[in-house]
Amino acid sequence: MTKKKKRWLEEKSIEWVLIMVSVISILTTVGIVMTLFYESYEFFTVVSIKEFFTTLRWAPVFDPPSFGVLPLLSGTFLIAFLSSFISLPLGLGSAIYLSEFASKKARKIIKPILELLAGIPSIVYGFFALTFITPIIRSVLPDTSIYNALSASIAVGIMTLPMVASLSEDAMMAVPDSIRQGAYALGSTKLEVAIHVIVPAAFSGIGASFMLAISRAVGETMIVAIAAGQTPTFTLNPLESVQTMTGFMVNMALGDIQQGSIEFKTVFVVGALLFLVTLVMNFIAKFVIQKNREVY
């Protein structure tokens, strides 16, 4: 009886320890939300929400300061948008080749290479953008500034490409082989099977991979901090220097700012905006697109 009780006690206490440990990941989310929104709330007691979202000038450390976040948002989305011209077509093309055309052997060699590409730290892509891509752009278009959105976009596109490739390939591989074989039996070519059968069937997974890649591009920091510059400009010209939300945060953290000052709070309010934007995009990718997928 006592032995049984001891064992019960042991089991229960272990369960509680494990629950405590599990709670850490929930506390992380709570911590992120609370720190970001507490400081943001304080920020909005000084600066009106209207000014924040409608002014076209972002100059929090200037005198007089201006807190219009639109230049940062436009910079962020300009880079995310341009990067998708690299990551989405190349990623999807690679995924179609890997899933529908490549032999088993070729897949075995190519997949680890794509994984390597995905494992390279973003600081390396930043270096590559500044010292390799930018000089090439400037030799073609000499008016381009040293720090420009295009160079950063290309590097971000390369960085997010493996993500599109591997998630899309997973989605295509998940389409049951019977469907594929059925289409072949009707006399379709590989291309016709890929375009008319596999891609439509895997569409939800492919869409989710696109969304996640763009969300990654929005949150990408080191590439844009190095290659895109530090001038918040409200522009759609990719050859100009822009600042993104993440680039601004890095810039502020490296500088000397007084804790508790309004400049300090801008880091949190921009962080909160970044958090919300990526959260919505990830949510759409994971729960809206994935939920509507075809189930076989």
Binding site: L18, I26, I110, G271
Partner: protein, 292 residues
Amino acid sequence: MKKKISYHTRLKRRLLLNQIFKFIFMSTIIVSIMVLAILVIDVLQKGLGSLDLDFILNMPSSRPERAGILPALLGTLWVIGLTALISIPVGIGTAIYLQVYADKKSWFFKALNINIANLAGVPSIVYGILGLTVFVQLLKIGPTVLAGALTLSLLILPVIIVSSIEAIKAVPSSITEGSLALGVSRWRTITGVVLPMATPGIMTGSILALSRAMGEAAPMIMVGAVGFVTFLPDSIMDRYTLLPMLIYNWTSRPQDAFAQIAAAGIIVMLILLLLTNLTAIIIRNKTQNRVD
């Protein structure tokens, strides 16, 4: 009326189109691989000249020809080592709870799962803000190795949890049920049967997560890792620098000589990453299909 095309002409066209697109899809992969090759060659070309033993063993310096990476190398080892000590036990604990103990219909289980999925998508710089507020300021740990490691631990925790869950799931239920049927308690079954079999999978996932942490610079800037120190860390309450921080510092200087030592730093970091990834792959391959 459209002209009717014979079956054979159509077939020829379809097959031609098939070949053309096969080539296009293949070239997307070739482009990706070439980019990787160009990147590596470019970095090697710029950096190999500065890479020697002095570079590894010297302190950073404002004169690029004398600068070295020793504090960053040791700082990276300190922070990543401590991150491993914190994140792996917490990650495995959470995975065990989710996979073995939790009632899969409870709200807590569902909330935890959604939470982990969402955390994996939060930009790393946001973790930096969390670390700055909670660890550096609120808990008054300061911009130290410990604060950096705690922040990185939270950052890679979702990855470790997910890969540990996969590893635990892969243990055949017949074996765990066999253990339970012999009257072994749930916890003893976990420590004696489940974990030993899941360890390779857990290790692979954890090493890959740690190698990701090794390259992170953005959150570390927020929690106060510095780009330039001339002392070596010797406790977890020391200030520190890291390889990606030093590379960032050098990259953002205009002089060409700094770009060269930045490239040399990148080579060292990539070698470290390659070694950790190789370890993970070796563990994975050595233990694959051990149980069927």
